[in-house]
Symmetry: C2
Subunit: 334 residues, 2 copies
């Protein structure tokens, strides 16, 4: 092949906010595959908040992204060469092939995606890691009963929108927290939440109180910070909080929490989780999510940047909440 691979490397760690200077776009040969391996042309790259944590070298649940290597990332693409009998040229697959146009794998870390009823990109969103994240935190930690009130932050995002729709199907009152009137409108009108509080409107606690007249029984937290503090004040006895993300603290800002007392007063259970440690639920969750998406009963939005070279900027936008729904980068010409 005369074409080259293109890759984005992490070349320095952010001091505070992520900057374009932390990345470098390079060319590289397209990898050659050996026996048992497949070569994949990536069509979509997934951008996710967890990547911010990997960019630091602080202690975290996962190893740091090494410097001068291809940025980690979920991808969905097409098999273009195969020396593995389980994969044929033309198969659509998802995997973790990173911020690059081409990647190879021995078949153990990629999975076929049935695109007959679900579009390929959804396997990076509602029928992928974000969807399973929503499914796990909601079903295994928040575990709401019909009639309870469930709140989710970053409600217009890939995870939050799925949390709310799944909770609604369980008969809960579902309230989102999102930034801006536009996102709140989407959360209420498109995803069918009962209400959405706009944290950028500057009166989160009163708005949340109005939206949760019976208090809050379950909270799916994607952001931490002031939103978590406000929610703690509204929690009911025996409430459950799934801690999935603390995006408000990713840049190392202090995130003092003032209402921790609620954990004792209301006998709360607060649990952090990372979905990749619960692989046992993926088949069940993906089956359910795939069926809902195929039937049009689980809605999602995508914000798609065009071209690998625009991935850093799209990622910075994601961390600032500029996207609506799942942030993707399309790596092929549309």
């Amino acid at each position: 092949m005369s074409e080259k691979n293109r890759q984005i490397l992490l070349i320095s760690r952010p001091k505070g906010e992520v900057s374009p200077a932390n990345f470098r776009l390079v060319e590289a040969p397209i990898p050659e595959i050996g026996p048992g391996e497949v070569l994949v042309r990536n069509h979509f790259l997934s951008l996710d908040p967890y990547m911010r944590g990997r960019m630091d070298d602080a202690k975290s649940y996962a190893a740091s992204q090494p410097l001068d290597e291809v940025m980690i990332g979920g991808t969905a693409g097409e098999v273009i060469e195969s020396r593995n009998p389980e994969f044929a040229v033309g198969d659509r697959v998802m995997g973790m092939l990173g911020w690059q146009l081409y990647g190879k794998n021995d078949g153990r870390m990629i999975r076929k995606a049935d695109t007959s009823r679900v579009p390929l990109s959804a396997y990076l969103g509602a029928v992928g890691m974000p969807g399973v994240t929503a499914w796990y935190g909601l079903n295994r930690i928040v575990a709401p009963k019909a009639g309870e009130t469930v709140v989710v932050s970053a409600a217009s995002g890939a995870v939050g929108s799925a949390v709310g729709q799944l909770a609604k199907r369980k008969g809960c009152r579902v309230v989102g927290v999102a930034g801006g009137a536009q996102k709140c409108a989407i959360v209420a009108d498109e995803y069918g939440f009962d209400a959405c509080a706009d944290y950028k409107a500057g009166q989160l606690y009163p708005d949340l109180r109005t939206a949760t007249p019976d208090g809050i029984d379950g909270y799916f937290d994607n952001v931490g910070g002031a939103t978590l503090d406000a929610v703690l004040r509204r929690m009911n006895a025996f409430g459950r909080i799934a801690v999935c993300g603390l995006i408000s603290a990713y840049d190392g800002q202090p995130m003092p929490l003032h209402n921790f007392r609620s954990v004792l007063v209301n006998r709360l259970r607060v649990e952090g989780f990372i979905v990749s440690e619960h692989m046992e639920v993926w088949p069940e969750a993906l089956r359910e999510l795939g069926a809902l998406v195929a039937a049009g009963e689980l809605k999602y939005r995508e914000t798609i940047a065009q071209g690998l070279e625009n991935a850093p900027e799209a990622f910075m936008g994601l961390l600032k909440g500029r996207n609506v729904g799942k942030q993707l980068v399309r790596l092929v010409t549309p």
Copy 2:
């Protein structure tokens, strides 16, 4: 009877710290009992941190202590008159008869105490509510395995000392946090903890780090605040935190928490509880605790104030950590 009952009423709610002016000592007739009732002469009154919460009218897990009524409190005493066939004059009983010399009950809220092998006062401590609190939080929330490191705050107290000794029996490394060299010496030498960090020495985090070389797997929290913050920095993946008390915030001081991020990074489970909501474990817990105390295998200390009139001052001392072990008030002449 010519003798009078004496009672301490709550007459105002504290603004910040508890003050003697919040209480009033009054005389009242000794209650007359009706059919099915028993009259108890209280020998010991238990003073406990939870009482501070009841003095406020803020939303909490229990109703506020009403003004101008006898302060709530656990008691141990002797039946001096009975119209209930299940109780005989001379029976030792424990109950919640409040800050007063005499109380009556219909028999449903008092329980006989076998003082043949366990002293009566222990039924307010290691073989009473504090002991069961330790037992529940340790066994049902922290649930440590042999070889894990368990930390407990207020380690010289009635609850903390029992937590540590029970964890030690499970083969854990046990580290206490207590205030002052004297308390730390008791924790290590008398209760057999592996180490004790003195938070008053002004370098809690480094001391805790030294005492927990393998990190912390379980934390039984009686205090919240800066101690909780320091512990959060040392937690291992999948650690468990039982939130039993937040004594550092009882007077309404802000208690900002800075290291909440650890809940996500380390996938912690944090759970608040109140032992009176888990009555199902009391028989099992009290059986185990009673056997250990009788065998001399569960040690405890008591700080005993003399006379009902000294209860308010003893209670204020408890909130400031002036007691060592279980704080009691003796209501009879020694």
